[in-house]
Symmetry: C2
Subunit: 202 residues, 2 copies
DNA sequence: CCTACCGATCGGTAGG
DNA sequence: CCTACCGATCGGTAGG
């Protein structure tokens, strides 16, 4: 009744392929990933590479899911256990900036790049990405509202602040990846803290 | 001594090709543009399409320049004649948001998409794009500093505000192109006005 | 997981 | 500006 060796091996192989696919897609874009060069890099045949997924597009879908997991592991999971409020929002911002500053993907934020690439290409990949982005926006707005609820006075609408934070993450990603400007990291961190109403440095 | 007819025709053809290239690249990305399908769409041969530019990459470079021109015509040129200060910054924000809301490119902001696509691909296209983005950042920071100079009190650093505005433009572009959320336009406009310290609506 | 192959398309060039 | 072609590569499949 124990799993056949080949089953374990198959899962390992699948995992190995997905990780390599995420790397390639991060550097070259989802459309830039080709099964031929990815297979060559892994020392496999094209058929062996695509087989576990059925098609190139389903391999890209698996890579997108994996990238979402990596983002959540870096930014969202460290918050578990903290009570909602300004302290947790501050942690979220720090984890988010750290994720962009020391990015687990060689080409910068995978979801941002995929969004720009897929927004004009209808299909299941675009649909799934829209779900991922929408869900993250909702999560952000909830965290912001919880933080605002603990301090008196008028606040900007949580949706607007969420847009500002997402925008700052995109601008930071550009300043790191395209402009290679090391001053961008502290600047974006301060801007995020200011946008949500946290005290900011001198 | 008058220019030969063929010279005028050649310039017209070149212009026509560049415009079509910008459209294709906006929808499919710069890497997604192929000379074969672009030639077919224009009823030309591949050789005739690429000839005036020398190579596909130089055609892409021409498309990038053209996209920069379109952006400046929409956002920067309308400001000419206005004195620096809050009024001109307000106009800049409105033209910028309008440009994104009713975009001259079918796939959304060309420069933002190109930035995300090229940031991991070293070469002359990336170098040129970096110049374009850097120059725009500088211009923005100058406009922000001029507006701040006219009002008393402490202000956020102009570089930080420039990052916030650029980020908001990217987030708005995503909300329009990927999420197709019509509420994004007024929200981003308010966020930009707030970020630069202009009075915002109710 | 492999080899061997499919038709289609890629960017580019020779020659006019 | 064209036709006609180059070698390379694309994603996918048949058959094992």
């Amino acid at each position: 009744m124990s799993p056949r060796h080949s089953t374990v091996e198959a899962a390992r192989t699948r995992e190995r392929i997905v990780r390599a696919a995420v790397e390639d897609a991060s550097r070259l874009g989802l459309e830039g990933l080709t099964v031929g060069s990815l297979a060559r890099r892994l020392g496999m045949s094209k058929a062996g590479l695509v087989g576990p997924f059925g098609s190139r597009e389903q391999l890209l879908a698996a890579a997108l899911e994996q990238a979402g997991q990596v983002f959540r592991a870096a930014v969202t999971e460290p918050l578990e256990g903290l009570p909602p409020g300004p302290g947790r929002l501050e942690q979220l911002i720090d984890r988010w900036v750290d994720y962009l500053a020391d990015c687990p993907f060689p080409g910068g934020c995978f979801v941002t790049a995929a969004s720009s690439e897929l927004d004009g290409r209808p299909g299941p990949l675009r649909d799934r990405l829209r779900e991922i982005v929408t869900s993250w926006r909702r999560r952000l707005a909830t965290e912001i509202a919880a933080a605002q609820a603990e301090s008196p006075g008028r606040h900007r609408p949580p949706d607007e602040v969420a847009t500002t934070l997402i925008g700052l993450s995109m601008a930071l990603n550009q300043e790191i990846q395209l402009l290679e400007d090391p001053s961008a990291v502290p600047r974006a961190r301060e801007a995020m803290r200011h946008a949500v109403g946290l005290a900011v440095g001198p």
